[in-house]
Amino acid sequence: MKRLLPMAAGLVALLGAASAYAACSISGSGDVSTLSNAFPVLEAIAGAMRECTGGPVKVTTKLTTENSAETTQALKAAKSPYGLVALTNGTITPAQAAGQLRPLNDFVAKYKAKYNIEDGMLIKFGNDVMAIAFQVNAQHLFYRKDILDAAGIAPPASYDEMLAAAEKLKATAGIEFPISGTYKSGWNLAEEFVNNYLGMGGAFFKDGTAEPAFNNALAIKTLDVMKRLVGYMSPNALALDTGASAQQFMQGQVAMGNMWASRAANMDDPAQSKVVGKIAFAAAPIITPGGKPATTLWWDGWAIPKNFDGDPELAFQVMMEGLKEDVVRANNDVAIWTRSVYKPGRFAIGTAASARAGAPPYPMVPQQSLAHDAIGEHIGAFLAGQASAEKVLADATASYIAAAKAKGLLK
């Protein structure tokens, strides 16, 4: 009995937490499995989706940081075991181009009133609704307000200002490496290149084609700015992933940098941060005078695989149960939600400011992911001082061409 009591208490607490939302009310029968990345907002959504298990319905959720690899396999297979997959602007385009997603127009029309599905949540290709977005995310400026104020430095609006601020902090405040960045060689580094190159006014492809156009003077200028920034980052910078970079902020080691909005709430979490309340947020810096903030806007959403081995209408209802307004209200601060019941707080400031100043969405063309990968494979060598900017851009272009030809995107 003694042992049973705490167990029962735990169970009650669990049930209490779960019933923060109105109970799941869906019709139909069968199994729905979901596949997504793993971060706080997706955990909240998955929790609400699992509420729908009961009677003839069973919902299982899989959250994994390897989700993009697994999603690719599931969409390609003869039958997808997953009824719902989480996608982003980066991952939806290859799937959409290959015809692997089920258009959702009929379900949206049918359930629009029940779940208050708003136009701002719909990801559309032409007239087809291909996904329902729940949050936007972007990299933007994180800075230590206390340190910058003490040194009499205004929050940097451009990378030139950030470099000047870094030099000043190094000289006067004794901070050897004041800048942090998500510069881990590979996907993260390429993402920063995409941000900066688009901010510079560059384009990745010749207009309306899949022909590469990222080996040029603008790209070299972009790489030069990135190399100057690396000079003020920890010597480990090219091996630090997003988590390690966020850690640098939370441990109070760095003064500023371009960081994902989805990490903003962590900065004020006393359980993991030493700088609670000290970090402020602003638009991503501009990289060239008169340019747009050097960042790209991302969305995260859910889609239904065309090859789903189950009832897509049931899957759609489970999706909307996870995205209903109650879930947003109960988890307001863990994400920048697309729903209008969301009340933007201080963690949304940087993304909002970047969007208002005209930061572009991450390019939604299927060949972008191949270019992203090729760039991530090669530009690290330039930043590490192993090769020239001209060579790494030529290598990245060659890798892209080989990959795009193998996918039939280039002749």
């Binding site: 181009a97 701002g120 990801i123 936007v136 060689s185 969305w299 993304t351 299927p366 060949q367 039939g408």
Partner: protein, 346 residues
């Protein structure tokens, strides 16, 4: 045993090998000789995406879209391409370029050529995979043997606990082990804090190829030594006591007993552990994923993973994995020949 009953006994394992090894291998080979993708054509598409707070962005672009057949099903292309995927993985064209620049022999051309070749993905991955084998194998064997001797020399009471503790690194999931080591050596993490506490300057362990490769080797030794330990420790339990006693009577020193009795007795086990470790080490993956992501250290296995997931190219990944299998066979030939000769001699 007559032929019939022999065949009856081996049939299940032969069948299992055919089904689980040969068939997938043939399938992979078949895949590697083809290219496969969904046929696309450029079409004007209007996309609409949310930005923030109800704002959304509408863009019209020419985007590759699937070509569909009469039934609306995307058309899949499946072409025989011969050895193109292999040439692609090996980057034969870039290798040729490196050879061309080789002809103007300036001082230091050998090093330059080596740098040029290893900057190509496959050859860089091969370089580090081989370096990793060369660095970890002797350490794993020596350290495993030393721990086995040490545990063997302790009293029976603590032995169980010691064996359990020594096996832990082997039990931990590789990617978790690699991540733990990565976290230990970050800027302000445990190791740096400890070093600074002892009065040393801060050291940036992830700042270049040399320290990162050293950390990956450290991880490899930490992870694989328990396997060598447990096999060699088992071997130590079968030492011929009479031979050892005879050596003692003859006045052999501890070193001589080790050198002339114990090590020869364990020789087949050393060969076995070496063989398994070389096969394992050639397929090093997790620490490269965690530490290197190819700038400082790449491996063939990581390369295959990248081709499969980032390039989303099954056929090229199949070619890469078959080249890996071929490499293992080449590496194992000397060890297998040695084992064969010993068997013949016995």
């Amino acid at each position: 045993m007559n032929r019939r009953s022999f065949a009856g006994f081996v049939a299940p394992s032969v069948l299992a090998m055919l089904l689980l090894i040969l068939l997938p291998l043939l399938g992979t080979a078949w895949l590697s000789l083809h290219e496969s993708y969904v046929k696309t054509e450029l079409a004007e598409v209007q996309t609409s995406v949310p930005l923030f707070g109800g704002m959304s962005r509408v863009e019209v672009r020419r985007v590759p879209q699937a070509v569909r057949d009469a039934a609306g099903i995307p058309v899949r292309v499946w072409n025989f391409v011969g050895l193109d995927n292999y040439a692609n993985v090996l980057s034969l064209d870039r290798l040729r370029q490196a050879l061309v620049t080789l002809s103007d022999a300036t001082p230091g051309w050998g090093w330059q050529f080596y740098r040029d070749v290893t900057s190509i993905e496959f050859w860089g991955a091969l370089e580090f995979s081989l370096l990793y084998i060369a660095a970890t194998t002797p350490c794993v064997l020596l350290l495993g043997f030393a721990i086995a001797l040490a545990v063997d020399a302790t009293s029976r009471r603590v032995r169980g606990a010691l064996i359990f503790a020594s096996l832990l690194p082997f039990i931990i999931t590789p990617v978790v082990g690699a991540l733990s080591i990565y976290w230990l050596f970050l800027d302000n993490a445990v190791v740096n804090a400890a070093l600074q506490g002892l009065g040393f300057a801060k050291f940036y362990f992830l700042s270049g190829a040399v320290p990162i490769r050293a950390l990956i080797v450290l991880y490899g030794v930490w992870h694989a030594t328990p396997f060598a330990f447990v096999v060699l420790y088992a071997g130590l339990q079968t030492l011929p006591q009479d031979a050892l006693e005879a050596a003692l009577v003859d006045g052999a020193t501890a070193w001589q007993r080790l050198r002339f009795v114990i090590v020869p007795h364990l020789a087949p086990l050393f060969a076995f552990v070496g063989l398994i470790h070389v096969m394992d080490a050639y397929r090093v993956f997790e620490p490269v994923l965690v530490f290197g992501s190819n700038l400082y250290a790449n491996s063939l296995q990581y390369m295959t993973y990248r081709i499969l997931n980032s390039e989303d190219n099954y056929s090229k990944a199949a070619a890469a994995s078959l080249l890996t299998v071929l490499g293992i066979v080449v590496l194992l030939i000397p060890i297998l020949r040695r084992l064969w000769r010993e068997r013949q001699a016995a």
